[in-house]
Symmetry: C2
Subunit: 203 residues, 2 copies
């Protein structure tokens, strides 16, 4: 088993690295250089026809793509220290929060990165006015997230989950793209400091 | 247990209705009228702070939002006839395909609907040139999906899963929005006819 990985700042491979580190899984990495467009090569597209990292390759060669799907597989084969929830209801709530973070926060961050950042302007056609409009959407999502975090250590309360990992990778990638957490979001800032201080965050 | 539902053409509540029908779960529905903006009311936002349908309300009042998270909960409490996969690897592959359909196909359909359709122009600020650009993205995604379906009855081969349900709801919503499956996609057309003919598709 090995992970086709891309280094920081790519947020999606980082999700898997943190997930594996939190569970104590040693995952061999093979770098796929996004700057060299290696993820768009024919050879890599045989592993993932969408040309995206990360991809987990099993020992028999079977590829699994999508960061969250890779984490689900790791959770199945290493169930100890569950990060997708510990009961039917909690698993639904972790999944709900994971999706909320992806659709409400990661999506506008991605739109900004894709359509308004100078880096991506070099490789794709941008709609800059649309891209810039996501600044406000991201700020509004940060404020919503801040309200939801009030009184909680982690997104699910006292239980650290893959929803926190996804949110951490999203917030850090947003900052890399130039979208910092806004002022007046104390719960968000406290949560971010809390999850960033975990050893796994450095994975 | 009841489902806060919104009628066709809303694709996300439909995903849950089909999922429940396929598993033989009788799910009482309470309509939330999107045209009347009932999903954005303070009362509904107490169930889902993002103001979106569907929401599953448990008998103790606990709300679960996000269509896929609701389906995961239903799968947990009614495990018979699994639609999320039957083994660790298959569950990862179902999840991978579910996410591929959402990110590669549903996302550009949503962008078109949000930014280029006359209906949404009445309620939100649009970036029309960006919205229109998604026509080609959707067509490209349909062609990718067609290639992936070659030789398969369902997305996972002979196994019908929530990935098929999500893709069906996406393709039908795309058509509603004016984005029909392009010519030259025979595997996609055959798959669509196959999944549309299942009784659950009418739910």
């Amino acid at each position: 088993m090995k992970l086709y990985n891309s280094a920081m700042p790519a947020p999606n491979p980082r999700r898997v690295r943190i997930f594996a580190a939190e569970k104590g899984i040693d995952l061999p990495l093979e770098e796929v250089a996004l700057a060299k467009r290696e993820h768009k090569s024919d050879a890599f597209r045989e592993k993932n026809s969408l040309g995206q990292t990360p991809v987990l390759e099993l020992d028999d060669g079977t590829p699994i793509s999508e960061s969250v799907s890779i984490c689900r597989y790791l959770e199945e084969i290493h169930p100890e220290k569950p990060l997708f929830g510990r009961s039917a209801l909690e698993r639904a709530q972790v999944d709900m929060w994971l999706r909320r973070v992806e659709f409400a926060l990661m999506a506008p961050v991605g739109n900004f990165w894709r359509h308004a950042h100078p880096y991506t302007a070099k490789v794709v056609k941008q709609f800059n006015e649309f891209g810039e409009s996501n600044r406000e959407g991201v700020a509004a999502a940060f404020r919503w997230f801040d309200r939801e975090l009030e009184g909680k250590n982690f997104i699910l309360g006292d239980y650290f989950s893959i929803a926190d990992i996804t949110a951490l990778c999203t917030v850090d990638f947003a900052a890399f793209a130039g979208l910092e957490m806004p002022d007046g979001t104390p719960h968000l800032h406290a949560w971010h400091a809390r999850v960033s201080s975990r050893p796994g965050a450095a994975a």
